[in-house]
Amino acid sequence: MIDDVIKNEAGNYFPTREQYDALVAELHKSGYEYCSDLCAVDYLQHFDRPLPAGVVAERFEVVVNLTSVKMRSRVRIRVQVPESDPTVPTLFYHYPGTEAMEREAYDLMGIVFSGHPDLTRILMPEEWEGHPLRKDYSAERVPVQFKHSPAIR
């Protein structure tokens, strides 16, 4: 399975969204005990960035850094996520520690992690509109959206 996934010279994996979950499961079994970091990048202006042959550039990338305590090594996984359907499977069931990180990526970048147990906003207020870290979300021209006192639910 791992051999099917495209790799670049630096040793980063570039799985498709279908391969992503299985690849992480495989790496988890092979000794990568914990997930250091999960974040998303919006490459709106850079569809021409260097990628290994066979990888189609999409607007978003989900970047996962896994770490192995035993082997003292790290591995990076970069998944291409299209703008039209920004969905990737959740890693929660392999690494429960990605719960907050995936919520953060959803909140700020709008990536939907299917199967996540509690995909809600984490840093921004619940009623916030839009996903602030996207490149088409202007930083300064948006009036601050204050959260009013919550209504009875």
């Binding site: 914990y34 250091s36 850079h46 850094n65 305590v69 429960p96 520690g97 147990p117 984490i122």
Partner: protein, 443 residues
């Protein structure tokens, strides 16, 4: 009101708060706890263990925070209680979110360290360090030896000051007011040294891409010697004051236990992970700077309870003192920053003499450093755990994306596991033992 609700429906994904048991399906409860507890495949979750049977009449959801002195800032915890016992906990964060990652995309690499230093305000130098290391990794520059050792000295001192601050607030949370006074007193000594070197007590902007902002002042050895001679004696005092003390032991031993498997599964790092017995310290296992040239031990615990987390930090203070004494002997001479005019500004004197230096200075502060395209993940050991920086450059003078992996942000996820089945009174001790800094959690 109604119209507003309609308008924001598109991105509204439901409340962040904890839902009541009645509205939480048993399957969700099992997921919430079963997956986190990382049961082996095939093991069925015992319904009794997950307490799905308890009805809402017996439980109560209370808020702790965001305004609560012992939550270390604006951490809000929603706790489901049955009597005095905590069943479920959910940290609700974001009250201090200021969008620093977004801000970072608008600042050049020279301005960037001013931004990141404000994230974890108790260890600002570590934030600057990880940002600078990431920038330098993209630039591919070698840092002069002296700069590396100054960085190491400053970050170890910062670890001491941060841990002392933790000792102080932890003492406060557990009712030892004298510990708070003592902790602040000793931290003061280090902060005045920082003030001497960097000009500021917090948010230094001292470690910058390319080296450090200024050389150490004359007589810095005496200050370090004074620190290295005072702190160990004081630590003995604190050891006498807290470690064997019955009330302190009662309140910490066996409270908030986290196992090795849970800690790794939850991506916990730093003292929280080491207290469970995993000898994982990035200074040792993936050395950066010159940590492979100094001698120190990685301190681990055995049980993973609140007491172990205290003991690990206390012993780490001694190790840090050991490191700074070695740095005192080994500090090399030489330039304190890269002498590449495209990366660091020329010395002030040169600007008056040379037109070329003036141009370089002007270009550097208007355009900034041009960093070649690429992406990099750099991680260092901050007092709270693995502090990572994922940086993407597109060749311009501003980072295209700068993501900071905050250790407290990730460590907070282990709170629900530690709290489960404990008492409300222990909650304060457990929160304190994780040492969250909300500036970094919310960024």
């Amino acid at each position: 009101m109604q119209a507003e609700a309609e308008f924001s429906k598109e991105t509204f994904e439901g409340p962040q708060e904890m839902t009541e048991r009645e509205f939480t399906a048993p399957r969700e409860l099992t997921v919430e706890e079963g997956a986190v507890l990382r049961l082996a495949e095939g093991v069925v979750v015992d319904a009794g263990d997950i307490d799905v049977e308890i009805s809402d009449d017996e439980t109560m959801i209370i808020n702790m925070g965001p305004q609560h002195p012992s939550t270390h800032g604006v951490l809000r915890l929603m706790m489901e209680l049955q009597g005095e016992t905590v069943l479920r906990t959910k940290p609700v964060i974001g009250y201090l979110h200021t969008g620093m990652e977004k801000t970072g995309e608008g600042l050049s690499y020279i301005q960037g360290s001013t931004n990141v230093t404000r994230m974890d305000y108790l260890s600002p130098l570590h934030n600057e360090l990880v940002f600078s290391l990431a920038t330098e990794a993209l630039l591919g520059v070698e840092i002069p030896e002296r700069a590396t050792w100054i960085r190491m000295l400053m970050s170890e001192l910062n670890r001491i000051s941060s841990h002392l601050m933790w000792m102080a607030t932890n003492g406060m949370d557990l009712g030892s007011t004298s510990m708070m006074i003592f902790g602040f007193r000793d931290r003061e000594m280090i902060l005045s040294f920082f003030e001497k070197v960097t000009g500021l007590r917090m948010n230094h902007n001292y470690i910058r891409p390319g080296g450090v902002a200024a050389d150490l002042p004359d007589g810095w050895e005496d200050d370090i010697l004074a620190i290295a001679q005072t702190i160990p004696g004081r630590l003995d005092e604190y050891n006498d004051m807290l470690t064997g003390q019955p009330i302190f032991k009662e309140r910490t031993e066996g409270v908030g236990i986290l196992t090795q498997e849970q800690a790794l599964a939850l991506s916990a790092t730093g003292p929280v992970l080491r207290s469970t017995g995993v000898a994982w310290d990035l200074r040792k296992s993936m050395p950066y700077l010159a940590y492979d040239q100094v001698e120190f031990d990685v301190v681990v615990g055995s049980v993973g309870d609140t007491f172990d987390r205290y003991a690990v930090r206390l012993a780490e203070l001694r190790e840090s003192v050991r490191i700074i004494t070695q740095i005192l002997d080994k500090m090399p001479s030489g330039p304190y920053r890269v002498l590449d005019k495209k990366i660091t500004p020329p010395p002030r004197k040169r600007i008056d003499e040379s037109m070329e230096a003036l141009i370089h200075h002007f270009k550097l502060f208007t355009e900034g450093i041009k960093v070649p395209p690429g992406e990099v993940y750099v991680a260092i050991e901050s007092p709270r755990g693995e502090l990572g920086c994922y940086m993407v450059s597109d060749g311009s003078s501003k980072p295209y994306r700068m993501h900071i992996r905050g250790p407290s942000f990730v460590n907070l996820q282990s709170l629900p596991v530690m709290m489960r089945g404990g008492l409300v009174a222990d909650a304060v001790a457990i929160i304190s033992s994780v040492d969250p800094v909300m500036g970094e959690v919310d960024r």
